[in-house]
């Protein structure tokens, strides 16, 4: 499982980095989205991978922490997803505005001379 997860994160990051270095705004936004998926998975993996363990502790009884999964990264990922979603949506609007104002989808707002 560790291998699959780390491969997944690696592929997402690699594609994301490649895409944000591309000259078209749409590629940049997709790159940022892929990168944020990779980061979310990464945060998740920082809480260590556990299978079939609940993150929420039951009442007052003595508990064994090893039987539970770390709830903090899950909370962090939720927050990161929400924030990433909102900022990506905002970026999308700016991207469309830039396309409308400059007439091109190049990130510099003008086509490079060939």
């Amino acid at each position: 499982m560790e291998l699959v997860l780390s491969l997944g994160i690696g592929i997402l990051t690699g594609s994301g980095v490649w895409l944000i270095l591309r000259p078209r705004t749409y590629q940049v936004i997709i790159g940022l989205a892929l990168l944020s998926y990779a980061v979310n998975l990464f945060i998740f993996s920082m809480g260590r991978l556990t299978v079939n363990a609940p993150p929420v502790l039951p009442g007052a009884a003595e508990i064994d922490p090893a039987a539970f999964t770390d709830p903090v990264p899950q909370a962090l990922v939720l927050t990161a997803i929400v924030i990433g979603f909102a900022t990506t949506a905002l970026f999308l609007v700016v991207l469309l505005a830039a396309r409308g104002l400059t007439g091109t989808d190049h990130v510099d707002g003008r086509e490079p001379e060939r």
Binding site: G84, T87, V94, A97, L101
Partner: protein, 549 residues
């Protein structure tokens, strides 16, 4: 404590949030009402943060001052979401509200009409700023950063226009990428230490196993890159001048403190980490990187200042010079230099903010093409003039131009770091501390002045000189050169904020003694953070009289 009741600590976050949300209920045509509410909020914020500052400075141990800890969910410290108020955060709160009032007042003149929800976004930006200054844990720092950035995206695009949208798009893309780095850094640190609370982190770092150490260091480094992007360290700073130039004037004025947020976090975290004995090698590598990066940033900013043909870009590059100076001073990691750097932070932020507001007023009477021509002519024609002439000639030119000219001259003096204004005092404080590490008249200081000190000294002086050259050139072009100059129409509400900010810098000069003592106490508290850590970790949750919930 009469000066700082318990719940006042969270007011700088809650107040702008509530006020900003409230403004959403009014139609955008009710501008007068909206402006009144938001300016009143900013004034209230100033009052609150001054009270907090007095509370933080007043009594308590000499080192950390009175550290106030506010547990938001009333959980005990390592788990709690907490706000921590010490001298540094109180100072930054005061600074942000001091900048907010003039910027908001300035916007009443014309800018608030340029697009919807200006005041709401502005207040949310303040909320994010204040939250970032107050928070005591890394993840909430991220959240407040995002609040601040999301509001700043909206503000940067306020008024629309091709140039603004283009610069704004770069700004957003870079900051989104930086936020992802921020998250990776936070996640790595959490993965190794199992905590996000800054104070708890410091206690746990020494216990980290040797094989996990590289992970922790990588996490800290990645986190640092995210903040250095915000602070604008070369070579992460190419977005900054374009962005600040394109932003509307009142927005640029408050953005002056946004690059300082990055500096603030670096200052706080690097000193905390070094107190926790992040291994000597890494620690010194980190300091060196900050120092050298700072030097490179000053150099880059200086070249930019000299090369700028438009006033807006000049101001943008001045932001870089100021960031670079701060980073280099932090990189030296001496208590005295840090105190000077804090003084510099306050004075340069006020200056740049005033300058951004002023530029918009001055440029109303000009067209940009004339600027380019003027510079080209100068290159082949006459040399530079002295600065002090400007005030004398001010009498003969019409009223508006005279006031603008005097303000411009003051900005030039501040940016160049000439006496008597605080730009000079701050640089002097830093240089004195650098050359006398043991304090003035301290023993054995003769031989210890290193190469680094000389480099920084030289760069500081050169950057001041080039600011002076660039400013007098720009001043001549703006006020004397135009033959048939159109006198810009300036409203009282627009020139007053500039005057207010400049008056604040004059006040800094007059009160330089007490302010400097405060900065020294702050720097000492930062360099010896153990009482801060202790106070945060030992804060007991409030005992509630009734049953839970």
């Amino acid at each position: 404590m009469i000066a700082a009741p318990e719940h006042l600590v969270i007011a700088p976050v809650v107040l702008p949030m509530v006020a900003g949300a409230l403004l959403l209920f009014f139609d955008d045509r009710e501008r007068r009402l909206k402006a009144t509410i938001s300016i009143l909020t900013a004034v209230a914020l100033l009052a609150i943060s001054v009270m907090l500052l007095i509370g933080a400075h007043a009594d308590g141990e000499a080192g950390a001052g009175r550290v106030a800890v506010y547990l938001v969910g009333n959980w005990p410290p390592p788990f709690a979401i907490l706000l921590v108020l010490d001298r540094l955060s109180a100072m930054m709160l005061v600074l942000s509200s001091v900048l907010a009032i003039p910027a908001l007042a300035f916007s009443v003149g014309r800018w608030q009409k340029a697009g919807p929800h200006f005041h709401t976004l502005f207040l949310f930006l303040l909320m994010g700023l204040n939250g970032a200054f107050l928070t005591g844990d890394l993840f909430n720092l991220f959240v407040f950063f995002e609040v601040m950035l999301a509001a700043s995206y909206g503000l940067a695009l306020h008024g629309s226009g091709t140039q603004r949208v283009r610069a704004g798009m770069h700004y957003i893309a870079i900051n989104l990428a930086a936020s992802l780095l921020f998250l990776i850094g936070v996640a790595l640190i959490y993965g190794v230490t199992g905590t996000l609370n800054m104070a708890d982190l410091i206690l746990r770092i020494p216990a980290v196993a040797a094989e996990s150490r590289p992970m922790l260091e990588a996490g800290a480094a990645i986190l640092g890159v995210a903040f250095l992007i915000k602070a604008g360290m070369w070579p992460l700073s190419f977005w900054l001048p374009t962005m600040y130039t394109a932003a509307p004037a009142p927005v640029a004025a408050i953005f002056a403190i946004m690059s300082k947020v990055g500096v603030y976090v670096i200052l706080r975290l690097s000193l905390l980490f070094s107190a926790a004995g992040m291994p000597e090698g890494t620690s010194s590598f980190g300091w060196q990187l900050l120092f050298l990066g700072g030097l490179a940033t000053i150099a880059f900013g200086t070249i930019g200042v000299l090369a700028s043909q438009a006033l807006g870009r000049l101001a943008g590059y001045s932001v870089l010079v100021s960031s670079g100076t701060l980073l280099a001073a932090i990189g030296l990691s001496q208590t005295g230099v840090t105190a000077g750097a804090l003084f510099y932070l306050v004075s340069s932020t006020l200056t740049i903010s005033a300058f951004f507001l002023l530029i918009e007023l001055v440029e109303r009477g000009q067209d940009t093409l004339a600027n380019v021509l003027a510079v080209t002519q100068e290159a082949f024609g006459e040399g530079e003039e002295d600065e002090e002439v400007e005030a004398e000639v001010g009498v003969t030119i019409p009223g508006t131009l005279a006031i603008l000219g005097i303000s411009f001259g003051l900005c030039a003096i501040l940016l160049a770091g000439l006496p008597p204004l605080p730009g000079f005092l701050a640089k002097f404080a830093m240089l004195t501390a650098m050359f006398n590490p043991a304090g003035l008249g301290g023993a054995g200081t003769e031989a210890e002045i290193g190469q680094a000190t000389w480099w920084l000294t030289a760069l500081l002086i050169v950057s001041g000189l080039s600011a002076l050259i660039a400013m007098s050139r720009a001043g001549i072009r703006a006020f004397w050169a135009p033959v048939d100059a159109v006198v810009p129409r300036v409203l009282l509400i627009e020139i007053l904020p500039v005057g207010l900010l400049l008056a604040a810098t004059v006040a800094l000069t007059v009160q330089a003694g007490p302010v400097m003592r405060f900065m020294e106490a702050t720097a000492e508290g930062l360099h010896q953070p153990w009482s801060y850590v202790e106070k945060v970790m030992s804060q007991p949750p409030t005992v509630r009289p009734e049953a839970e919930r």
